[in-house]
Amino acid sequence: MRLIDSNTIIEAVSKNVSDINFIIAPDILSFFKNAKTDKEEKNFLNILVENSEIADSKRIALCQDTGIVIVFAKVGTEITLDRDLQSLLDEAVRKGYQDNYLRKSVVSDPLERKNTGDNAPVILHIEIVSGDVFELWIMAKGGGSENASALWMLDPADGEQGIVDNIVSRIKEKGANCCPPLLLGIGVGGDMEECALLAKKSLFRKIGERNPIQRYSNLEKKILEEVNSLGIGVGGFGGQLTAMDVFIESAPCHIASMPVALNVGCHSTRHCVVRL
């Protein structure tokens, strides 16, 4: 068995969850710099490049919505912890968000709406795996992009077109609200919550990383093309660049079902992986 000390986890998580709010993902920055767009969209992309430079050099958050923290933990059967993971991660987030002047964007109750004041609790999903692996896949997720997300329990006969139509129509309605150019995470199959989890996890992929199954990689390209034909554009100010990429993940499902979930990522989609 391998013991991972609480303080090691708290230090690593508080540092990484803060850094992702100041340093833009390299694949997104490279996309901003290299995208082929018209002049007006390029001007907005240049502002986003400048935004990332100011954020990095002054340690001021890329976006004022520094997100609610979501963690997918992979914990090996040979790993021992000296405290429960939820309280460890909550402590790490409290420390990271307080020490680094990040916004506290969590309310303790959806109807009472009182701010917890420390950005805890973390939303935690735990997967037990074999070996001595300990990985924390961390995301700081903004509200604007999360609010544009959606889930549909489609009929099997709706097929690929059903997926395309629902996703495109959702982006048509909400795309301008959630800071385009977007990353679209899509889960297909599983059950209601499994497809939502797949959609969220797919946002950890890098721009250009295709689903290895041809059918799904073709579908990713088709959805990207259709979404970019909507005319929403960078910042929602009109143009051909509404989404940077589309990521689909699939899973087996019930004979009667075809669940589809869309999790929208903004142009500051923030995530990291901590391996200890």
Binding site: L62, N115, G235
Partner: protein
């Protein structure tokens, strides 16, 4: 480059074209979901508001906390449509300028026209870039809402795009 000073006059608003990029300087107030609800409750109860709505400019924004010695934290726009349900009542009380991101409802668009008001979008997710254009910021009401408090904000050359008028 078109530059205007807040508060905007009727003539200022009339002179703007949809889609035009404008740089605003002057004073505005931040307000988000909770503070909008509170303002509406106060209006309904006949209470005195913490901000003067006549001619006012509201920025839909909740900042990150400022570091010591720094004017403000990251300060980009939040999604305007969440404020749609409150907006007509505020426009009818004299609100003239709104700054946020994304689309507005048909009801709000009608109310904007009726009140000779204007809705600007600014660049969502560019919180660090926009913070550089904020010269002063102080919490003036509802500190209990944390980042959703009402802040008074002085901006200089703050870039916005005319979205509805």
């Amino acid at each position: 480059m078109k530059k205007l000073t807040l508060p905007l006059s009727k003539k200022d608003i009339q002179g703007l074209q949809l889609g035009e990029l404008v740089y605003l300087s002057g004073t505005l107030f931040s307000a988000r979901d909770n503070t909008h609800q509170k303002l509406i409750n106060m209006i309904n109860n006949g209470e005195e508001l913490p901000v003067k709505l006549e001619g006012a400019s509201i920025y839909y924004m909740g900042p990150t906390p400022p570091k010591v010695g720094v004017v403000c934290g990251s300060a980009g726009p939040t999604t305007s449509s969440r404020m749609d349900r409150y907006t007509s009542a505020l426009l009818d009380k004299g609100l003239k300028v709104m700054i946020g991101k994304g689309n507005r409802s048909e009801e709000v668009k009608t109310s904007i026209k009726r009140n000779n008001a204007i809705y600007f979008s600014t660049i969502g997710g560019a919180g660090a870039y926009l913070a550089d254009r904020i010269k002063k910021m102080q919490s003036i009401a509802s500190p209990e809402f944390g980042p959703e408090a009402i802040y008074q904000i002085d901006v200089e050359f703050f870039p916005v795009i005319v979205s509805y008028k």
